[in-house]
Amino acid sequence: MRKNVMGFMSIVGFVMISGCSSSGAEVSIDDLEEARYEIDPNTPAWQVDDEENVELTWYVNAEWFDRAYGEDVITKKLKEDLNLDITFITGDDSNLNTLFSGGDLPDLITIFDGQSQAALRAPTWALPLRELADHYDPYFHQVAQEQTLDWYQLEDGYTYGYPSYSNTIDDYQADIIPGSDAFIIREDIYEALGEPDLSTPEQFITSLQQMKEAFPDVVPFAFRGFGSDGDVGSIGDTFQNHLGVPIADENGDWYNRNLDDSYLDWIRTFNEAYQLGLISDDNFSDDNTVFEEKVERGQYGSVFASGIAQLSGSLQTNVARDPDQRYIAVDGPKNPNGNEPTLNQAGLSGWTVTYITNKVSDPQKAIQLFTYLLSDEGQYLTTFGVEGETFEFNENGKAVLHEEVLQMRNDNPEEYKKSYRLGEFWFFGHDGFALEHGENEASIAVDQIQKWTKGKLKPQFLIENINPDQGTAEARSLVNINSTWATTLASMIRAKDDAEFDRLLGEYETFLETNNFAAVEAIRNEKMNENRERLGL
């Protein structure tokens, strides 16, 4: 009997091991074949490559991504211009892991975390972009952002992935990126209270109390809710940015913003507001969907909001329901030290990152696709569609969307998404492009809020990607530290009195000491120095 079991297990083992060995030929940058066309640094290769009917498979690590290809305005044009068919595959992290461990990679891969283990180990599975471009499509160097490529360069000196919505220092300085966080208040309430000043703790509390008396049906103050895995909603670093809490101390070392005095003073104020019944307990148990529904119904008097872009649908619904109840951005809580808001937006790391794998069937077409989407053609196409079909250029040379396109955006968002897909093909999108190159009527729901953020954005590139690498002991400590901070912060806002508030804070500081926070801090400092080097600061 035992023999049988052993025999069976060895068969199973054999099947597994042989099943795991990778298949398919790997391409390496040294043995790329010659380009099938004449390469020219001033002409995009897609214009000279007459190879027909290339097919690429593109894995997107987002189950919600629309896999349709060739049916909407954007992908139809893409297909025509590039003679390219794309099969999209979507999935979640477990699908991605299966792809990697199976070794049978698709041609292109888009992931959401440029700091994940997969991204850091890109040399084992992806092709370096600059070298690929030199070989097949040097025009790429004219359209790709140098800063972004440098930022994504790995230790071996190569850059493998290119992100969407990567904002450079120039973008910040040009002031074309819309901010995404603000203190917003319902316009009718704000006016009924006589447009109060909310900048100091006393004025903040008094105004909220007046609001509670005059409008008993609304929750006077709310914020984006907490997540269980250490996400503290909008009241963490988003609020710290609003108060202009510095990101580094005088010596340029990592600064624990959570323990900053001016920030904690405001958390004490929120605690007082909670005790007075101005913040609801539900704020801590509601998930994002419920939070957004409450915004739609105007159930919050004022909100410290983050992610205005994601919230714009709800804000739009709210305005459509009752235009008087529109939320507007006002200055709100101010730092007692006089610091100005230093709002943050996506930095160089951007959002999604797209790679060309070393199993790619047609590396020439793959890099052409990158170049195309990054060039003006691709940017106009993915933002405004096709000239004459969905937009026209006006006398200022700006893109203006057709009336029926705008109308469908408001009346039938689903159909709009399906037939135009504008803004939905975001793999190489840029935040400022629509604003810089188009003149279209802004949505009344977010227009005022985004205008308020103007001039308040400051890059935080220095503290981007400074957490310990996944899978290390320090990363594990940080998970525990972050979830403890979320619990502590929520408990501090709900504290019964000052004594409990101080006790909770003290306990958190002790937790930091006993959970190896010094090591996390050391890694962050080290990575900040690396960032300085990369950014030339």
Binding site: V15, T487, A490
Partner: protein, 303 residues
């Protein structure tokens, strides 16, 4: 021995053939993946293949056992699961007996259908319903304030000390009706002449239940009990993920959600596999012990 075995196999050939697809299915989907367990003894990252990752021995287990958050998750899992076993295991038996004793008719059918319904809702839906019912403006608070038990609305989901009870009661509410099905089926197979004889002897309803229904169901109850014990250390994942928030996390984090957080969210696969493996071994031991005990009590073996 051998000729005998072949002879018997030949006699049962049609039945044996029927089993083969099931066996193949089991081999492919449950035995072959066992190989993945070696990840627990390696330092694995997504771009490794299982065979290429370096060995680290028992290191992942050492880390798990020295992590206070792991032990807090173990404590919560045990507490919630034991409470579920205590209440959630007996409730369907009681409900089944009550339904069984009802006269057949519209009322009986309605009770059955209504009690099954929650089983068909996913935890995502139930979680949303619970968050709204338990919120300060929710159903429960309105009710408690109307009858004067509470003066001020309270959000029960942000109070850590209430979490275990919320988890257990919501699970019982969701599963009790569905759990009665197997017991009702067993009761339906009891020969009615037993009850007629008992009635003639003057047995009361309670005596009939005690001396006829329960003894004849004991085998099924034992089977269900062993299965329930096997699940003691797992299966709270969906519920936890929809109900957890930072304020109740100290009581709500269970092993499965912890493994999910470390493994999938943080990408620490080796560590998560080690925790999962440790839990599976403990569950297996629990099943064996319970099986031994029920066998002693029942004098019949399930396996």
């Amino acid at each position: 021995m051998k000729p005998n075995f072949l002879k018997r196999y030949k006699q049962q050939l049609p039945l044996q053939l029927m089993v083969i697809p099931g066996v193949i299915f089991m081999i492919i989907f449950t035995y072959i993946p066992i190989y993945g367990i070696v990840v627990a003894f390696k330092s694995f990252s997504v771009t490794d293949t299982i065979s290429s990752a370096p060995w680290v021995g028992l290191n992942n287990f050492k880390i798990a056992f020295s992590d206070p958050f792991f032990w807090s998750a173990v404590r919560n899992t045990l507490a919630i699961s034991f409470l579920k076993l205590l209440i959630g295991f007996t409730a369907p038996i009681l409900l089944a007996i009550l339904i069984f004793e009802l006269k057949a008719g519209l009322f009986k059918r309605s009770v059955q259908t209504i009690s099954y319904l929650p089983h068909f809702l996913s935890w995502i839906v139930v979680g949303g319903m619970l968050t709204s019912w338990l919120s300060t403006t929710g159903l429960l608070n309105s009710f408690l304030m109307t009858i004067g038990i509470l003066d001020e609305p309270r959000n029960f989901l942000v109070e850590a000390q209430s979490y275990w009870m919320i988890a257990v009661l919501s699970d019982v509410w969701k599963s009790v009706g569905w759990g009665t099905i197997i017991y009702l089926a067993t009761m339906a197979s009891i020969d009615p002449t037993y009850y007629e004889a008992a009635k003639i002897d003057g047995a009361t309803k309670l005596q009939q239940i005690w001396h006829i229904t329960l003894p004849l169901m004991s085998f099924i109850i034992a089977l269900m009990f062993v299965l329930a014990v096997g699940g003691l250390l797992g299966s709270n994942l969906d519920q936890t993920l929809v109900l957890i928030n930072p304020l109740n996390a100290s009581r709500a984090e269970v092993i499965d959600s912890y493994v999910y957080k470390i493994g999938l969210v943080q990408g620490d696969f080796s560590y998560a596999t080690a925790v999962g493996l440790a839990i599976s071994i403990i569950s297996l031991i629990l099943v064996i012990i319970t099986h031994k005990i029920t066998k002693k009590l029942n004098n019949r073996s399930i396996f």
